[in-house]
Subunit: 455 residues, 2 copies
């Protein structure tokens, strides 16, 4: 009899775990079953805004591997199957089968929670109106795209100015709608500092997106047919044919919690570096877990496809007797809104304060190419460094084409604990089409060094 590995969730984390386990263990040794509530597996949620905006024509393109492909690969994927209860002592699951509304019981030897994230949804009057969308699953994306294309909608209100909010604002703009973006914060992108957020805000306005900051949504107005008509705030109503909520997500850990699997203060499932939970034979990966932030040295819940994929692979190795470890994160993220590029890594000023750091800031404006080379554009780079020892703590970049992916150089340096002084002398690639002779990242680090020296 083979052992039985059950994966709860068909997203990138779950299917990475299943696929990696399948690569390493024969079907005669290990049976692998994955239960997925929806109809799709291994799709890119990060790609949804591009489908909604029409840049990606076919939602199928977002799917790295379909349920049938996984099945052909020896993974027993069961879509439309929602796990509703887990008994870790009895090694049993209760599974609701959407097809016939029946509930079945399934056993397991080892279990992987890959239950993803759940969107934060405001409990506000009128939030059940038609035309209000979250963007979490491919099904959400298809429904929203359908609405945008076929219903003659003209005015979109996006609530929330984080990554998803901005990407959806671009998607709506691209689809030809008038877009209003509302956010509670003084600047969009509160994962970057307000001074950098102000640069983002300027560019967004230049793109024709109407920004209203420091605005709290009180509710949604509906028309007689139950369609959303406006977003109500303190003393104002923003007319809307369609509303997109981008209020962030939290770890989808309820099922694990109810099963007695340890959940941390962040709301994410607690695991060790091998992605093992505190419960024997139970693993977790992806947006439902909390992980270790290498700079703040604190647990964080960070929903992102890269971590989900890596963690899934780590589970797949370990569940089949290998040894792999997920080394933690440093909060690297990037987004693109039309030509605007925004990236960050490590700690923001707020996060650095919260983690107890005293720090200096090096902030500069430079260009993406040598100044004389055509199509050079301005970029803003900000580096935070420990005021005492110069260790780089965080960095942010805002600019246009060719700006943001430079964050990876800073991320690599921050990952290794490099000081701003050492960083400023790095041997980075130079040719006029790619960079000024001093790469902007180096100049920002030099500025931070000068700040330390002038204290």
């Amino acid at each position: 009899m083979p052992q039985r590995l059950v994966v709860i969730g068909g997203d990138a984390a779950g299917m990475s775990a299943a696929s990696q386990a399948r690569r390493r263990a024969k079907p005669s040794e290990l049976e692998i079953v994955a239960f997925e509530r929806g109809q799709y597996t291994s799709y890119s949620a990060c790609g949804l805004p591009y489908f909604v905006g029409g840049l990606v024509k076919d939602a199928q393109d977002l799917i790295a591997r379909s349920p049938d492909e996984h099945r052909a690969n020896g993974i027993d994927v069961r879509t439309g199957h929602e796990v509703v209860d887990v008994d870790v002592d009895a090694r049993q699951l209760m599974v609701r089968r959407h097809r016939d509304h029946s509930t079945i019981v399934e056993g397991f030897d080892q279990l992987v929670f890959a239950t993803g994230a759940v969107p934060v949804k405001p409990d506000l009057p009128g939030s059940d109106a038609k035309g209000i969308y979250g963007i979490q699953t491919i099904t959400d994306g298809i429904a929203l795209r359908e609405h945008v294309v076929h219903s003659g909608v003209r005015r979109a209100v996006v609530v929330g100015g984080g990554y998803v909010g901005l990407e959806m604002a671009e998607a709506m703009t691209r689809a030809g709608l008038d877009v209003v973006l509302l956010d509670r914060s003084p600047q969009p992108m509160n994962t970057i500092d307000p001074d950098m957020g102000a640069v983002v805000a300027d560019v967004l306005r230049g793109l024709g997106i109407e920004l209203h900051m420091e605005v709290a949504v009180h509710g949604f107005e509906q028309d007689a047919d139950g369609n959303v008509a406006a977003v109500a705030t303190e003393g104002h109503a923003f007319p809307a044919d369609i509303v997109v909520l981008g209020l962030g997500v939290k770890p989808g850990s309820r099922l694990a919690h109810d099963a007695g699997v340890a959940v941390g203060t962040t709301g994410g499932i607690v695991t060790d570096r091998r992605m093992a939970t505190k419960t024997e034979g139970v693993w977790a990966a992806g947006d439902c877990v909390e992980t270790f932030h290498r700079v703040s040295r604190r647990p964080v819940a960070m929903a992102l496809g890269t971590h989900a994929n890596k963690q899934g692979k780590v589970v797949g190795d370990n569940v089949t007797g290998g040894y792999s470890a997920f080394p933690g994160v440093i909060g690297t993220a990037v987004t693109k809104v039309c030509e605007l590029e925004v990236a960050r890594t490590g700690l923001s000023e707020r996060e650095a304060h919260a983690a107890g750091f005293e720090f200096v800031v090096g902030r500069i404006e430079s260009t993406t190419r040598a100044a004389y080379y055509p199509d050079s554009s301005t970029l803003h780079v900000k580096v935070l460094a420990d005021a005492r020892n110069g260790t780089m703590l965080g960095a942010q970049i805002v600019g246009r084409e060719g700006a943001a992916k430079r964050i990876d150089v800073l991320a690599t340096a921050i990952w290794t604990g490099m000081t701003a002084d050492e960083f400023s002398m790095l041997d980075l690639a130079y040719a006029p089409p790619y960079s000024p002779v001093w790469d902007p990242t180096l100049v920002a680090a030099r500025k931070a060094v000068a700040e330390i020296n002038s204290r």
Copy 2:
């Protein structure tokens, strides 16, 4: 009486040294004189191909700071002044003044050699023909541009398939000429491995550049007016209206050597980490020096604007009583030929062998963006890692728009001595417009890890 600092050479290295010294020391404490043979200072030699090709309209745009600007800044720049002899014991220079062909004697307290590089020129029959150009100075560039635009030339032959050769091939193509590229090596770009060079060769041919590899030039044919007519090789003559030599450069260290300043086996002036030569009060910076390669742990001569600028700044700090160090190089370089992007860092296979490493190779083909995102293009990434401990030794990237600058991430990792295994789990920025969910650099590192594990 102020001390007197003399800089030999008005290039980026020399003027960075002078400018940094000027920032740190008052004119009443330190007089700064710079002798430059030509008429220009602080110009970007790296930008010359773009001027020749017409992408940069005005040669003045390549000049970061003119002699007058330096003078206004308190640096006594003397253009048209060629230092012909240095007496370090007497603290005196012999300087030939081009204006009136006189020779003057100048004293110094501290001296900086910033004598740059000299192009390798073949001693071949007919090499004095008109229409044969090297590309070393802005004067060369202006003459070549003039010739290309005004003489109705049609056929260009570029000799040498390194960075400058390829960039000049692009420039000639852009200027509307038919371009033939000749090189002794089996593949262009012998700073990358032949397998990656083969990818470069394919793309170059696709751009309409006629490549002839493993070809040695025997001489140049002239017409009756002394103009170049053809480039002669073994059994063939390539018709040419214009010839560009891109045969590389060597350190311009003769003056220093003749003055008794130590020159190393690479031909570059030997310095310590503060850029001090072995002669008291004598410094050197830029293409005329040899520096330390952090991976091979050997001295190397590497002519590149980034190093020149950094070394100049280091000299400027130290010559005024500060403490700065140049930490060495890892051989990072990048070039762009039309849409083709080529980058490298660390050691190539040949260099790794020569340095005594046993290594594995991880080579992959991936895409610059998520596969479903528009305008995604193929890139090739190759990573070399120490076969025993996994330390990353070198990396190469060949691709199109958005490919090459990723080398900086690998460069940062190699700089710090990161292993391929650690690298493969780095927290790099991900969003569909920038990268697949596993960044290509991470995948190449994973491949190297798999190679080590399979040994």
